[in-house]
Structure formats: C-alpha cells, structure tokens
C-alpha cells in the first residue's frame, strides 16, 4: 500500500472542516497520542478532537480521497497496539464524544456515544436496577467505543459473555466517509447480514463507531464469593471444570497461581497461602436463597477434587477482601520487573489443566518470569511475562516464549485472544489460528469495506514477513 503523507494543504483543509473541535499539531500533542497500553511509539501527523459526526465523516472522505491513514482512538488502554498510528496520518480522539448516555428502561437498552466510559454505563444502568454485564478491568478508564472495537470481556464473561453479546445497533462512519446504521433497538433483528457483529471486534479497521445501542439485563439481587485453595494447579483446573459441569454457573471464576500469590503477598500482605499452588475465586449471583445453596455446593465440589481450604465470605466486606487479592495481581507483578507482557490466549475450559502444564514447561524452557492468572472460568487465562525491556537478551527469549504460548493455545483448540484483540502484537500469528484461506476471507471483507486501506492500517493483518518484536 502507498499511503500519502499529510501536506500543508491537507492540514488547511482539515482545519476548514473542523469547525467545532480541535486540530492538534504541536509536537507535545502528537507524542501524547503516539502510544497505547502495549508496545511501540508511532507519531501521528495530526490529532483531531471533535464531537461532530458530520465533521468526522468529512475528514474520512478527505482521508479516503487522499489515501491518508486514519486511526480511531478511545482512551488508548489497548494491550494489543490497536490505536497506534503505525503509518502516520490522522488520529481521531473519540474520547471527547461522551455526551450521550441514555437508559431506556422500558426497552432495556442504553444508547451511548463512543467516548462514554464503560463504568459510567455501569453506574447509570445500576441506578435503574439494571446491569450492563461486560466489565473489563479497565472499565473506569476505557471507552465503550474501544470496548466495542476490541470486543472486550472481563471477569463476568463466564456467565454473561462479552461486549458483542450486548450490542444490538450501531451508527458507523464507513472508510469511505458515509454514515450508516446497523441493527437497531430490537433484541430480535434478522434483516440481512449482521453487520453489527462484524463491526464489533473489528478493532477500528472497518469504520468509526459514533453511536451504539446496548442491551441491558435486570441486575441480579445478590452476590456470594468464595475462595478455594489448592496444592496443585491441575487440581484447581479440575475444580473449575467440575463446578461448571455441575449445573452451577458462577458469574466469575478467577485463578491465581503461586507466582501471582507470592507477588501479591510481597506487595501487600493479605494472608494468602503462598505455599499453595493455586487459588480460585468464585463469585455467584442471583436470588439470595439459591445463592446460599450454590455456594455450599461449590465449596463441597472444590473439596472433593482436593481443595485444602475453602473460605466463604460472610458479608460484603469479606467479599471485597477476598477480591482484593485478584485486584492486586497486576500492580504487584510489575514491582518485580518493569515490563509486563500481558497475554490473553484462551483455551476450551476442559483444557485449562493442560494449558497450565504447558505454561509451566514454557516458563522453564525459556527461563522467564511467567505468572498465570485470569478469567479461568471461561478458559481465558492471562499468562503474564514479567521482564525488562532494556535487556535485549531476555526480550528475545520472551518473544519466543510468547510465540510458544500462542502455539499451545491454538493446538489445544483455543484462540490467540479472548478479549484484548489482535492489533499489531498478534498479527504475525493470525494464519496459525485461521489458516491461509480463513485469513484471506477476512482480508476480502476488509478490501470490500475499505478499498483504499485507510482505516486503522497495520492492525490484525500481518504484513509479509512480520514477526513479533519486543526489543
């Protein structure tokens, strides 16, 4: 592809289009929009902030005509390189579009603009006794637009699914600068191709989401939490499968391995059993009477497969204490070494114990600091590699280890990403999961939507010979 560099004339035209927002070209501004939560720094030529859909559409028309790359951006918490302006061009800061947040109780839907923070949607829904289930750990910083583009999940994904399961309608600016509507406000809608689902998870490569209609559900009455402690990681894995096949559907099921527990204890002593191999945290939600029984049952099932101890929280305060361990894992592990590579390879639930074994083998083979935690209930483990990016030798071993992790996941019937998306980081592995034809079908869709390849180029699809590079 031959993208064009931005010229002074383009800038003049951009400024004439953006009547209500800001056009940022200072070096300090451009550098501030050059990174995300992953790796790499790429300087955009210009950053645009506007709340006007018409202005954005006009800018996309200009970009399409002149073959200038365009990158939608929320709050740039992406862990896969999604919003990075890898080919230069224009970044659209959509976090400024945060004005619309309507809860329609009678339709059980929320209508939102893309810059609204996900946590704000949670709050607004809860005020009406409703719930918007997708809950990425970043929900208090990330935008709904970013969640939609990445198809974000979270701990509650186990019971409630991910973002795509709650989107019924979108307003989108196409890569050719047209404004279209997909889906609508009805829960049932089978008219034609499901473009809504196609856009969700497309990582900003098929268009810019400017409005979304989200499905809400009644808020469960209560929650219960328990922690089960195991002397073997494999037993913990079996407990997860056992509970899930027993007819109980927890709202969350999170796993911490020994390395994660040790890190947390060193960071803030919580009394975690650091001599144990793993612990799982289980949250149930529903009717109070049913909950009590289910919690007992889950505790017994855990003991039956070898849990050495099960703690059940008696009240909200104890619940929060148990969950604190999970909350602290991320901050705790980066105290060990500065660089954190957070992977989210996902396997079928039955393969969790096997995946755990493979990860242990990878840790030893490459002599790397690997901790495993994550949303074990849905098979979405987060193997995290803690390293130091200023050590090139270590980073090379890390690159190999990451590749092995993906290979293991795919071989076990799993996927490269459970929720963080492909971006730039996982593009080199796409063919491994999808096969050449599978990937080609996706490319053809992209070609049809975006003939000039201006919309968020460099993401999802690998360039010839592209490899994972961390150093």
């Amino acid at each position: 592809m031959n993208w064009k560099a931005l010229t002074a004339d383009h800038l003049t035209e951009i400024k004439s289009i953006v009547a209500t927002g800001r056009v940022l070209t200072d070096e300090s501004d451009r550098y501030s929009y050059s990174f995300d939560g992953s790796f790499g720094t790429f300087l955009p030529d210009v950053v645009i902030q506007t709340k006007s859909v018409q202005e954005l559409a006009a800018l996309v028309k200009l970009a399409n005509r002149e073959k200038i790359p365009v990158y939608p951006r929320g709050q740039s918490t992406s862990l896969s390189g999604g919003p990075l302006p890898v080919k230069g061009g224009m970044v659209f800061d959509l976090s400024v579009m945060n004005d619309v947040l309507e809860i329609h109780e009678e339709d059980l839907v929320a209508v939102v603009s893309p810059g609204v923070l996900t946590a704000e949607i949670h709050k607004a829904a809860e005020q009406k006794g409703l719930m918007y289930p997708p809950d990425p750990s970043s929900s208090h910083v990330s935008t709904i637009g970013g969640n939609l583009a990445e198809n974000s999940g979270g701990p509650r994904g186990l019971k409630y699914g991910v973002t795509k399961d709650y989107v019924i309608g979108l307003e989108v600016i196409t890569p050719e600068g047209e404004i279209i509507q997909t889906g609508g406000r009805t829960v049932k809608n089978v008219t034609g191709y499901d473009l809504t689902k196609l856009i969700v998870g497309s990582e900003g490569t098929l268009g810019i989401i400017t409005k979304a209609v989200l499905r809400l559900i009644p808020k469960p009455q209560q929650t219960a939490t328990l922690m089960a402690i195991f002397d073997s990681l494999v037993d913990a894995g079996s407990a997860i499968s056992k509970i899930l096949s027993s007819g109980i559907l927890p709202s969350k099921m999170e796993l911490l391995d020994q390395a994660s527990m040790t890190a947390v204890e060193q960071y803030e002593p919580l009394g975690l059993p650091v001599d144990a191999a793993a612990l799982i945290l289980i949250e149930l939600d529903g009717h109070p009477l049913a909950l009590r029984e289910e919690a007992q049952q889950a505790a017994e099932l855990s003991r039956a497969v070898g849990a050495r101890e099960v703690r059940i929280a008696k009240d909200k305060k104890e619940e929060a204490e148990l969950w604190r361990a999970r909350k602290l894992v991320s901050p705790a592990i980066v105290r060990i070494k500065p660089t954190k590579i957070s992977e989210d390879a996902t396997v079928p639930r039955s393969k969790i114990p096997e995946m755990c074994e493979r990860l242990q083998a990878i840790r030893e083979r490459y002599g790397i600091h690997l901790v495993v935690f994550g949303h074990a209930g849905d098979g979405n483990l987060h193997p995290n590699i803690i390293c130091d990016k200023s050590d090139p030798d270590e980073m090379r071993r890390v690159e190999q280890a990451v590749a092995e992790i993906f290979k293991a996941a795919v071989e076990l019937g799993g996927t490269l990403s459970g929720e963080h998306g492909i971006g730039t980081m996982k593009a080199p592995f796409m063919e491994m999961e999808l096969g050449a034809c599978g990937l080609d079908m996706m490319k053809r869709i992209k070609q049809a939507w975006d003939p000039n390849q201006i919309m968020n180029p460099g993401k999802i699809f690998p360039e010839p010979g592209q490899k994972l590079e961390l150093s």
Partner: protein, 438 residues
C-alpha cells in the same frame, strides 16, 4: 548510548518512568486532563514525554515545557497509580531540568529570584507583606481600590484575589505572638509549631487559633524562632537547591526544640515537610536528620483528632462540606482525621462532594501564573461544591482556602456560603477567639 543522553536520562529520572505501564488508570483523577481534555495534559502523557526524551526521540526540552507547566502537582495520579510510579519526583526533576535550560526574560528572572530567594524565606519580608496588607486595609485604600475598579486592571489578574484576601493583623499584634504556650490541661505532648510563610503573613489569625487549639487539646506549643519557608514553592518551580537549603535551615531550627512533633496547619507545607527525607536522601550529612524530621511532622488535624478538642458547642443545623488539600491527601495521606473532627461537631450535617479528591486549581501560585487554566479547574470544582448545597466549605491549606473563597465569590455565593480553615471552624465551635477578633 552517547554520554549526553545518559546524563539527561539521569537528570530526568528516566528510570522512574519505566514503571509506567500506560494503563491510563490515572486519567480520570487528573484535574488537568479532565478539564483540558487532552492526553498532553494527563499524567500518562507527561510521563511519556519524559520517556521520549530518555529514548532520544525528543531532544528539545521545550516540547515538555507547557505540559509540565500546566501540571498542578496535586499528585492525585500517584494515589491512583497501581504500579507506584513516583510522578512527583519525575515532575520535580523535569521542571528543574527545564528551568536550568531556560532563559527567562529579565523581568521574569528578577521576579522569580526576588520572590523565591528573598521574599518567601525571609520572615522579615513576609511580615512586611502582612503589615502592608493590614495597612492597605486600614488606610481605606482597599475600599477606594474596590470602588475605582482599578482592582480589575492589576497585572496577573491579581484583582480577582483582591476581594478575598483575609482581614490582616496589626503589626503590634503580630509582634506580640508568644514563643511558648502552655497546655491548658494535663500535658500530652510538646509540639513545635510550624508557622509557614504565607500562612503567617496572610493567615496569622489562623496560626494563633491553631496554637490555642493545640494548647486546649493538651499540648505545650513552641514557636521555634529560626524556622523559615518550607521550600515547597521552590521545589515546584524547579529550584531544588534553594529548597534543600531551606529544608536544612528548618531541620536545624526544629531539632533544637526537642519537641515530640512538628505540627503545621497548611497541607502544602506539611507535604513538603514529610518529604524532607526524600529531598535530602542523597546527602550523607543530612539524610538521617531529614528522615527523623519528616517522621515527626504532623498535620494539626492528626494531633487534634488524637488528643481530642474539648467542648464543641452544637451548631444549628449547618451543612458542611470539605475541600481536601491535594497534598494532604496524596502526599501526607491524611484523609480521615479532618473529616472525623468536622463530624465531631454536634448538630452539623456533613456532605461529601462528588469527586472530592479533585484539585481546586490553587496549587501554590498556579492560580496566579496560570490564571485562566486555574479558573477552568475551579469552575469544575464549584459545580460539585454547589451540588452539596453546603453553607460552610472547610479547607486545610491556605491556597485552597483562598481559591475556594474566590470560587464562592465568582459564583456570587459570598452571602450564603462561608469558606473556613478547619482550625477556624473548630475554634469557632470551641468558643476560642484570637485576640484580633476582639
């Protein structure tokens, strides 16, 4: 790596930026990001700019100037950060690096030098400032100025502040302040009182009330003679050497007192005092003395909450809200005690503001040098303050006190909302009056 870049990395504390994983958890709590709406004014953005210099992608430090100039230094980002990035240290190092390379215009250079090196550290000059304020009020000049409209035309928008500066204390009274006040009941502690420069010049009355409250609560209070400015304004302006000098002078002065605690009533100064240990960590001769000094430093609310303020008379249904001092919250981590003290006053209704932790925009002399930016931040604060419908706004820092008064004035609420320092409010409830009130 070439030696200059290595040196620059060390100067800017580049290694500390490596802890930032760019998660953005600090964005929602940062007042400049939420007000100005640009990543350039976010903690993550600012840290990234330092990273870019360290990595050799930015070579001209002037690119960092505006983003770091407009940072309030409130350090809310540090409290929110899950990985413990030491933003405050990065901020100070970066500002110092910028200042070192900067050629200020002659008048600005002279003014900086005069204010930072001569006025704040000088008890005499600060007293003089206090006296002139008093003279200015008493002479009728104030009324004349207000009537004439000249106030609005003062440089740096100083006119805006004219209406809110407190009633000054007469030179005679200022001179009569005792150096040693005995506990009014069985003695619990001997405390040395840190008077502060602005605090003493402009809020001398609050200092007097503080000393009386401490004595009522069971403390022998010493006012150590050779103390000086805490150095916070210098450190924030990037004048680190000057800040270290002042720290040493204070440590020396207070060591002599042998008090159990060094007590202050100004959130910003207190934050500086608890950081002397860090400030002098590299100095072999001073490291331990500084750490010992910092360990003894307390906000007045901590001592009063521990000792108990006697006999607070009930207030008739007053609605009270509390504007936290950022430095007290994020650096000293004193958050519980002021609220406890307010709530201990019978009859009041305490209402917490939404986004209580957000800075009011005062931030040292930020509201003077970045007046417009500061007012934007204040306007956001006032939206929340108004929602509480409070009749009293409590603060614990002179800067916040003035800023909130300005906010109340700007909103046209000065008839219905009082802004008081916590000490003033407690003294009022305890029936304590400073002699100047008579």
């Amino acid at each position: 790596m070439e030696p200059t870049r290595q040196a620059l990395r060390e100067e800017l504390l580049y290694d500390k930026t490596n802890k930032c994983v760019q998660c953005g958890y600090c964005l929602p709590v940062c007042p400049t990001y939420t007000t100005f709406g640009k990543e350039t004014h976010s903690p993550r953005g600012r840290i990234n700019l330092v990273k870019m210099v360290g990595e050799g992608r930015i070579s001209d430090l002037s690119v960092l100037e505006e983003p770091f100039d407009l940072c309030l230094g409130c350090r809310a980002c540090e409290t929110a950060c899950p990985t413990g990035v030491e933003y405050g240290a990065i901020l100070e190092a970066t500002r110092a690096a910028i200042v070192r390379r900067k050629r200020f215009t002659v008048p600005v250079r002279l003014l900086r030098k005069a204010m930072l090196k001569k006025v704040f550290p000088s008890r005499k000059l600060m007293n003089l400032a206090g006296h002139s304020m008093w003279l200015y009020e008493k002479s009728g000049l104030q009324t004349a100025l207000r009537r004439s409209g000249v106030a609005e035309k003062l440089p740096y928008n100083l006119g805006a502040f004219e209406a809110i500066v407190p009633r000054a204390v007469s030179p005679g009274e200022r001179g009569s302040a005792a150096a040693h006040v005995r506990s009014r009941k069985e003695k619990k502690y001997t405390v040395a009182f840190f008077t502060g420069c602005i605090m003493d010049a402009m809020f001398h009355r609050i200092n007097r009330l503080s000393i009386q409250l401490l004595a009522e609560a069971g403390c022998d209070v010493l006012v150590v003679p050779n103390q000086t400015c805490c150095g916070a304004l210098h450190a924030h302006a990037g004048e680190m050497e000057e800040a270290r000098e002042l720290a040493k002078r204070n440590i020396e002065a207070f060591e002599a007192s042998q008090a159990d605690f060094v007590v202050n009533n100004a959130g910003g100064c207190g934050a500086m005092l608890v950081e002397y240990g860090h400030l002098l960590a590299e100095d072999d001769a001073w490291r331990e003395r500084a750490a010992a000094f910092s360990a003894k430093s307390r906000d007045i609310s901590q001592i009063l909450a521990e000792c108990g303020v006697p006999q607070l008379a009930p207030r008739a249904n007053e609605r009270v809200t509390y504007q936290r001092s950022c430095h007290m919250t994020n650096v000293q981590k004193v958050t519980r005690e002021p609220v406890e003290l307010i709530k201990s006053i019978p009859g009041i209704q305490y209402i917490e503001m939404e986004q209580a932790e957000m800075c009011c925009g005062s931030a040292g002399i930020y509201n003077i040098v970045h007046y417009d930016a500061s007012m934007q931040i204040l306007d956001e604060k006032m939206k929340q303050a108004k929602k509480t419908d409070a009749s009293v706004i409590i603060t614990t820092n002179p800067g916040c006190l003035l800023q909130m008064k300005l906010g109340v004035e700007r909103e046209g609420l000065s008839g219905s909302v009082r802004v008081l320092h916590l000490v003033e409010y407690l003294a009022e409830a305890a029936g304590i009056t400073a002699s100047s009130d008579k």
